[in-house]
């Protein structure tokens, strides 16, 4: 193109200012207070009858029906125990409706604590996905020998630094929430488990005990996370060491670790998504589920990357990152919005078309009551809106438009996660209020603090990366 080739780049270092710290800590504190107040409010009003019972009893009846359908479907599999099973369902419903103080009869229905735990799980998982997507993207760039994104590498690394604290939070919340959120966990703790004569015996859950058990939650998940954290640590320390050393040794080493990571990640991430999210609706299954979670992870982490990049640029850092690189990151966001749409459609269409009750029940629950509008908001915000916003070339070069698109995507996928978790974990009593917003703010505070802190711990540009100058001089051509 006849451009002047840039050979030297002035190194920068991000300064995590007191003001930025204050914002992050403020978000955390305000969010926590909001969440606590919200939770107390939820507790207080938990036993109130749902508004809709008075205003539109029809839709509630429909939900109730759907819920019973679900159990009826399961009962069909439950040869010989079907009748007694549905009785148990009625009991559960009764307790859900009246929710007496008696915690014994309550153990099967959601309590106000379900909503609290479900929120914690949602946000701990969602923010953790940003870090997971970032480390995956680092690895992909190594393996693909990609040059264009090298200047963004420190952003990705900083984003992936949340993996450690995020994993600790996630595992802690999982351990705490296990008996409240996971129907299967309650079941296996009950006297019905392993007792075919008992009225609540659930053949389907019994057949899943090899995966849904304490071992998976207490050992398997932490094991996987430790491996990821280890590889992430290796990549990060190689990257930092590369700043001090010439030559390709760090690059080669990181490439090898990246290839290994991607391979291990593909299998382990699948298992984690089943265990952590899919098992909330323990009777339901879909082979696409893990890919669906991966799609969420990747597109949201690209959007977060874009937000961080634009933030840094607005503060006068990363001036060397040209519009070409920004444009390419925008293309990735666009492409993976489409990817999510593709995965959503594939799963949805096949389940809709086949119309098997044990599968459609999942979407039935998400298309009734308060979840119905969210379902369409989800589709709009995760696919249609970013698709239209990001389609034009100039949109992918305009910071404001990119910020808008990233915000739409991130809020959209929050709703997406909400729909994956809430109908199964909380049911008709779930809502979006102070509790939800506060929890999200608190997690955002932790995330921002961790990421910016990590960003300030290393140089902004990995100048000794062999493809660094390619990124600096990146040019797509006409």
């Amino acid at each position: 193109m006849g451009h002047h080739i840039i050979k030297e780049v002035k190194q920068e270092k991000f300064e995590f200012t007191g003001r930025a710290k204050l914002v992050a800590i403020g978000l955390f504190v305000v969010g926590t207070i909001l969440a606590i107040v919200g939770a107390m409010d939820v507790q207080e009003h938990w036993d109130d009858p749902i508004d809709k019972v008075e205003t539109s009893s029809e839709s509630d009846a429909h939900a109730e029906e759907a819920h019973e359908d679900h159990h009826a479907t399961l009962a069909q599999h439950d040869d010989g125990h079907g009748g007694t099973h549905s009785e148990e369902t009625q009991d559960a419903h009764a307790s859900e409706k009246h929710s007496e103080v008696d915690t014994h009869t309550d153990s099967h229905g959601p309590t106000w604590m379900s909503r609290v735990w479900a929120n914690l799980l949602l946000n701990s998982y969602y923010f953790w996905l940003f870090a997971v997507g970032a480390i995956f993207f680092i690895a992909v760039n190594y393996v693909a020998n990609a040059g264009w994104a090298v200047m963004l590498k420190r952003i990705m690394e900083a984003q992936s630094s949340y993996l450690i604290i995020g994993s600790i939070l996630l595992v802690g919340i999982l351990w705490g929430a296990k008996d409240t959120l996971y129907h299967w966990s309650q079941y296996f703790n009950s006297a019905d488990a392993g007792n075919p004569g008992s009225p609540g015996y659930d053949t389907i859950l019994e057949s899943k005990s090899w995966l849904l058990n304490n071992g998976s939650i207490f050992f398997f998940i932490p094991f996987v996370l430790l491996v990821w954290i280890g590889i992430r640590w290796k990549l990060r320390s190689n990257s930092k060491a590369e700043d001090e050393t010439e030559g390709l040794s760090m690059f080669r080493n990181s490439s090898r670790w990246s290839a290994g990571f991607i391979f291990f990640f593909a299998f382990s991430f699948s298992a984690l998504s089943w265990l952590i999210i899919m098992s909330i609706d323990a009777h339901w299954y879909s082979t696409m589920f893990s890919i669906y979670n991966f799609a969420i992870s990747f597109v949201t982490s690209l959007s977060v990357m874009m937000l961080i990049l634009q933030y840094l640029k607005s503060k006068g850092y990363m001036e060397m990152v040209s519009d070409e690189v920004v444009h390419d990151l925008g293309k990735f966001m666009f492409a993976f919005c489409l990817f999510w749409g593709y995965i959503f459609l594939s799963q949805w269409l096949l389940i809709w078309y086949t119309n098997l009750p044990e599968e459609t029940i999942y979407f039935d629950a998400r298309l009734t009551d308060q979840f119905k509008p969210l379902f369409f908001i989800n589709l709009f915000m995760c696919f249609l809106a970013p698709f239209l916003v990001l389609m034009m070339r100039n949109a992918k070069r305009a910071p404001q438009v990119l910020l808008l698109a990233a915000a739409i995507i991130l809020i959209g996928h929050w709703v997406d996660m909400y729909l994956l978790i809430m109908p199964g974990a909380v049911g008709v009593k779930s809502d979006i209020g102070m509790l939800e917003i506060g929890t999200t703010m608190a997690f955002a505070g932790i995330f921002i603090y961790t990421v910016l802190n990590s960003l300030s711990r290393a140089n902004m540009y990995p100048v000794n990366h062999p493809y660094f100058l390619e990124s600096v001089n990146h040019d797509v051509g006409p």
Binding site: L248, I343, L350, D475
Partner: protein
């Protein structure tokens, strides 16, 4: 565009622009070599097998195949999916790699696109002849009832297939042909015989090489790449829905669309490697299709093979998890039933064998890659066989359980499609430049 020092050159041997033209026009302008004739004759013989088998099918009827009431799809649909899958690499290489600006695609895209088109021809044979009355094949199209058919069923994924594949074929054909025009013009300009001047002149469509023509050419290529990219996904997505929209255990699973797409890319790259390793050897194009190219392609094989393996394992684990005994039985039957040998062949060829490409030696040793590429082809054929036959031969009704073995006619048609495929490919290699001269010239000084 700036390239890092550690990038390898895309074309080795210090080729000049003149060398590129000479090297790539040589097979077209010279008499065919002995090895070309040998290969071509073998291909023609196989093509005759196709003609005989198909004629017999039409003459006697579908009863000459061993498909039956339970296994109503056998080798035919296996072969159909196999060939459609192979057709995927061409568009992936020309479209998606173009969007990703992967310059290494430039020495392989031409033959990969040609392969795509021939593979789709082969694929189309199977569903059309399976309908029994090939002369009614236009009934697959939504034509008014006055033409004799009933209005087609838009609810059926089989009809979606008709649209998906015909769109794919036409876009691929246009893409391929437009890419050929500047090269055809080069041959026209060098032509020494009248016939060559006429025919290449005709197909060059008056290409004059002006800056304006080139500008338009590049824009068209980008637009076509944009159009083809969703097609790469859509075709095999729709093909997977032929199975996944059913309620058959082992077929109805939500992961099918992306898993089929990954499998198609995997098998397509398998076939690209098989063909290009031959081309590279026979036509002596080692400076254009370098070990760097082989390495890149084997990495794609490793990646997509692992994705396919992940899908196998996901399906299996979720079947075990589902608590749905029919689904569980379908998988147990695949693994330990009468077709277990096919299942384990598939597992070995698709999941285990490509893992050798973790080793740099394996990625850069042509004869070894060739062997693995054949294994990949075999494995992907078996994958479709396993999916189709093992799910059908033992259905919900044990009284209709049967075994299925192909008849000689079915085997003949399958072997015959290789004849068609290679006949087309040999003719292509003789009359068209197998490497895109114009594009290669833009990168002979570039690095990967």
């Amino acid at each position: 565009m700036y390239s890092a020092d550690i990038r390898q050159p895309l074309v080795t041997g210090g080729k000049t622009y003149a060398n590129v033209t000479e090297d790539i026009c040589r097979p077209i302008e010279n008499k065919p070599t002995k090895s070309w004739w040998t290969g071509f004759i073998i291909a023609i013989i196989l093509l005759l097998v196709l003609v005989v088998s198909l004629s017999w099918t039409v003459w006697e009827g579908i009863g000459t195949w061993n498909v039956n009431k339970s296994v109503m799809w056998g080798w035919d649909i296996t072969n159909f999916v196999f060939w459609v899958g192979i057709g995927h690499a061409g568009t992936l290489i020309s479209a998606i790699l173009l969007l990703f600006r992967q310059k290494w695609r430039m020495s392989i895209n031409r033959s990969a696109e040609a392969m795509t088109i021939f593979a789709v021809f082969c694929a189309a044979i199977f569903p059309l002849f399976h309908m029994g009355r090939i002369w009614m094949m236009y009934w697959t199209l939504p034509l008014p009832n006055a033409f004799g058919s009933l209005w087609v069923n838009f609810h059926s994924p089989l009809l979606w297939d008709v649209f998906a594949i015909s769109t794919y074929l036409s876009v691929s054909l246009v893409f391929w042909y437009i890419g050929l025009i500047p090269d055809i013009a080069t041959i026209r300009d060098r032509a020494t015989t009248k016939a060559r001047k006429f025919w290449y002149g005709l197909f060059a469509m008056g290409w004059n090489g002006s800056a304006k023509s080139w500008g338009r050419y590049e824009i068209v290529a980008l637009i076509l790449a944009g159009i083809s990219t969703p097609l790469v996904l859509s075709v095999h997505t729709i093909v997977s829905m032929d199975f996944a929209t059913s309620v058959i255990p082992g077929w109805h699973t939500t992961i099918f669309p992306p898993y089929f797409v990954a499998g198609a890319i995997f098998s397509g790259f398998g076939m690209v490697l098989t063909l290009l390793l031959i081309v590279r050897q026979v036509m002596n194009y080692k400076d254009y299709i370098t070990t760097e190219h082989l390495e890149a392609m084997t990495k794609v094989i490793l990646l997509t093979g692992s994705i396919v393996g992940l899908a196998y394992i996901t399906e299996f684990v979720i079947a075990a998890y589902s608590g749905y005994e029919y689904e569980q039985y379908a998988f147990a039957n695949r693994m330990f039933g009468p077709y277990a040998w096919a299942y384990w062949t598939m597992m070995f060829c698709n999941l285990v064998a490509p893992q050798v490409f973790w080793s740099k030696w394996a990625r850069t040793t042509p004869w070894f890659i060739f062997i693995i590429s054949i294994i990949v082809n075999i494995g992907m054929w078996f994958e479709r066989f396993v999916i189709i036959v093992t799910s059908l031969h033992r259905d919900f009704l044990p009284s209709s359980w049967v075994m299925y073995h192909a008849s000689w006619v079915e085997v003949g048609i399958f072997l015959g499609t290789f004849g068609l495929f290679f006949t087309c490919f040999f003719l292509f290699a003789k009359f068209m430049p197998v490497i895109n001269m114009a594009e290669i010239k833009t990168i002979i000084k570039d690095k990967e």
